[in-house]
Amino acid sequence: MGLDFSVVPEYAHFLWIGVVWTTVLTVSAALLAFFGGILFAMIVLYAPRLLAWPTRFFVWLFMGTPLLLQLYLIYFGLSQVGIDVPALVAGIVGLGLHFAVYNADVIRAGIVAVDPGQNEGARSLGLSRAQSFRYVIIPQAVRSVTPPLGNNLIALLKDSALVSVLGVAELVHASQLAISETYRPFEFYITAAALYYLLNLLLEAGLRAVERKVEATR
């Protein structure tokens, strides 16, 4: 069986739906990962041990196991404890938590890396702990964490492909649906790869703009 890409345009609407759901998944999971990352980092750094230790264990556990395994755990685990969620929600929660953990690690390291003298200087000038954190530590940490957070976001976009195993009609699963009608896996997977590549280029361009802006506030 030779290759015939002419069937692909006929199924353009499948792929379009796939692109839309991949975007929805990525954006929702990225928001969850961003705010979850901040929350986990704050807990690990500043919360009492009773809260910090379980969080640290969770971070360690989620950094050491594959995303795919975590997706199965969340999808089937939630329904076992009586919470029946649609695959899309399970996918967002799974992707979001997985990357929240990686973001937390980046944010924690970024805050710790700010020279302690900065905080001491701010405190001795009469700023409160909160003021020092808000006006002295955070602005410096933001610059150092922006590039690695951007890299995590790029990884998240690519890893959103894994949510296809739960049956969410994102780009990979949408391609599978088109393949089940046409029996042309090569053509559709290559097309899907090209679309991911385009999305990735767009995201990278956006991140570069953000990084330039963060740099400019120096």
Partner: protein, 215 residues
């Protein structure tokens, strides 16, 4: 926690973990070879090779590894490539991580101070000799950690081959979750085994790192 069930299924998980180790080690070897080749192409003097190396890195890092596996395993037969799941998994993972390793190796080589090459060249060493005898031994030390990070990512990424029906750790966990409806128990067993494999890999990297430390 259903401990009896966990004890009953653990042997299957251990067997599957061994498959995960095999896949990871084989694709690590392939990835290192691809990485060395990619870095050589990207740093060389031939423009077509540099472009080719750049395209390899950009395409394989710019698309999901899952799609790359699917193109190879499901699309391969259309272009005359028929691979069993295990082989397709090793090749897919290895070529994918090779793109990341290309950048790790290239970064380490570029991080060696320029003056080292210049001094070697001015002492009469050829380009190749300067690279082999002066730059690479110094770069080798610098690439241990980034390649270690790539390797740990590879072990976790090896879970993807469960989607092309290689019976490894994640495949086994997923199967048992489906048949027993005990997701937490099955996750716990798989997590312990993944952690053990990753811990072993990290210890190897640390050992290499300590052995090649400058002082």
């Amino acid at each position: 926690m259903d401990l009896d069930l966990m004890i009953k299924v653990t042997p299957f998980f251990v067997e599957a973990a061994w498959v995960t180790v095999q896949i990871s080690v084989l694709s690590l070897v392939l990835g290192l070879a691809m990485g060395a080749l990619g870095a050589w192409a990207r740093l060389g003097r031939s423009r077509p090779l540099r472009v080719l190396g750049g395209a390899y890195v950009s395409l394989f890092r710019g698309t999901p590894c899952l799609i790359q596996l699917f193109v190879l395993y499901f699309g391969g037969p259309q272009v005359g490539i028929n691979l069993d799941p295990f082989t397709a998994g090793v090749i897919g993972l290895g070529v994918n991580i090779g793109a990341y390793m290309t950048e790790s190796i290239r970064g380490a080589i570029l991080a060696v101070e320029r003056g080292q090459t210049e001094a070697a060249r001015s002492l009469g060493l050829s380009r190749g000799q300067a690279m082999r005898r002066i730059v690479l031994p110094q770069a080798a030390r610098l690439m241990i950690r980034p390649l270690g990070v790539n390797s740990v990512a590879l072990i976790k990424g090896s879970a993807l081959v469960s989607t092309i029906s290689v019976v490894e750790l994640t495949y086994t966990a997923q199967r048992f979750i489906g048949s027993t409806y005990k997701p937490f128990e099955m996750f716990a067993i798989a997590a312990v085994l993944y952690m053990a494999i990753i811990y072993g890999a990290i210890r190897c990297v640390q050992w290499l790192d300590a052995r090649h430390a400058i002082d």
